[in-house]
């Protein structure tokens, strides 16, 4: 039990209750029942019932005569026979006739309801012709649910693996594959500001980048995007090139250009407008933060021409080497 739940912990997820709710509705009785069932005829003696129960460590046995399910005998019935010192009598005298059954194509939730409402410990499972197909206890249901959860976990893990960047890029054959995302950023547009960065982050997560890498790229790109909104004449563009081992994000604009890049890189230096400050920016920390988030940073700028900010991020090796 513990082991199963730790599987979900390893996935970084709580086991959601809805998963169990769905499972007991989807899972069919036929999949979780014990199908290799020992059965007896109604003329078997209670002595034999006692021996079989002890030998096979079972607490209930279905009674089948000429292929027809006629009853069930439980430990309770055996106790009655023992009390009456009547072990030589046939099981027909002690069994419960017309036992509770469940169809093998019914969902587990139905079986649970029947177990609950009747108070019996086991249900006999029948097929389309009302023939005995198996036996179902609460234990079978728990075991079946755990197996189904394990399968779900394996599927999720396989999916996770497929979503890693290596897998994504391996599926596309070329000498050098990369994915390029381009965005236009408008000057003064604080409402849409951050959208390009948000989409780059989502794309990275989608192709399987770690949250840490996606976050690092997103923060640096967001600072650059805000710079385009605050400091340019006419906005600019953001181009993200995603390579299996490196991500490059270029923020480019056509002016006004930075007169003194060294000064601009200094913490606290700002030329931001009042409106930019109102939006929570312009504290002179943009380039400082970008520098912290990137593995390599190149700034090229000329007054009256424009600025090009090139941010490089290395993809940690484990993200590109993981294979099945």
């Amino acid at each position: 039990m513990d082991q199963q739940f730790s599987l979900f912990a390893r996935m970084g997820k709580d086991l959601p209750l809805t998963v169990l709710h769905e499972l007991i509705r989807e899972l069919l009785v036929g999949r979780v029942m014990t199908s290799d069932v020992l059965s007896l005829t109604s003329d078997t003696s209670m002595q034999e019932v006692k021996d079989l129960m002890r030998e096979h460590r079972i607490s209930g046995l279905p009674i089948v005569d000429e292929g027809e399910l006629v009853g069930i005998v439980s430990v309770q019935d055996l106790i009655h026979a023992l009390e009456q010192q009547a072990l030589e009598r046939p099981v027909a005298d002690f069994m419960t006739a017309n036992p509770f059954t469940v169809h093998l194509k019914e969902p587990v939730v139905e079986a649970l309801r029947k177990l609950e409402s009747t108070g019996v410990g086991r249900l006999l499972v029948v097929d389309d012709h009302d023939k005995l197909a198996g036996i179902l206890t609460k234990g079978d249901i728990v075991a079946g649910l755990l197996t189904a959860l394990q399968e779900l976990y394996n599927e999720a893990e396989a999916l996770q693996l497929k979503r890693r960047p290596s897998y994504f890029f391996e599926a596309l054959e070329s000498d050098d594959t990369s994915l390029t995302l381009r965005y236009r950023v408008h000057f003064g547009d604080f409402t849409l500001g951050g959208q390009a960065s948000a989409r780059i982050k989502q794309a990275l997560l989608q192709i399987g980048a770690t949250p840490q890498l996606a976050r690092r790229v997103a923060i640096a790109t967001y600072e650059a995007e805000i710079n385009l909104i605050i400091h340019t004449d006419d906005g600019g563009s953001i181009v993200a090139e995603i390579h299996p081992t490196q991500i490059t994000v270029i923020a480019h604009d056509a002016g006004p250009g930075i007169p003194d890049i060294e000064l601009a890189r200094r913490a606290g230096y700002s030329t931001a407008s009042e409106i930019a400050r109102e939006m929570g920016f312009g504290a002179g920390m943009g380039l400082v933060n970008i520098n912290r988030c990137t593995d390599d940073l190149n700034i090229w700028s000329a007054v009256g021409v424009g600025t090009r900010l090139e941010m490089m991020f290395n993809v940690p090796p484990e993200e590109v080497t993981v294979k099945n």
């Binding site: 951050g194 948000a198 997103a218 923060i219 600072e223 929570g280 920016f281 504290a283 920390m285 933060n289």
Partner: protein, 119 residues
Amino acid sequence: MKTNEIVAAITGKLVIPPAMDIDLNCGFGSDLMSDVLIFARPQMLLITGLTNVQAVRTAEMADIPAIIFVRGKQPQPEVLELAEEIGIGIILSAYTMYETCGLLYQAGLPALGKIETVQ
């Protein structure tokens, strides 16, 4: 600290529940988004008086699960829409920044501790 504990500590109003009710492990109060971007940690609560879309965008970039807007400020509908779309929790506090932070600190939400000088 869970969302409901945070709301209770500041007698605030939860207007958008976070997509996942993550246990928040520290708080950071600032109206400067650049500072938030520098100091943010995943699972951090942002406390701010800046009620525009950039506060929500900043939270999105920095993996911040929830934001408290202080000083009784009511954010514009587009701010709430964006937060809901991304899944970032929004809590409103009638207290000032100082008092909101004080109440949360008192209730046991840790801070970041001493910050190394940023150059």
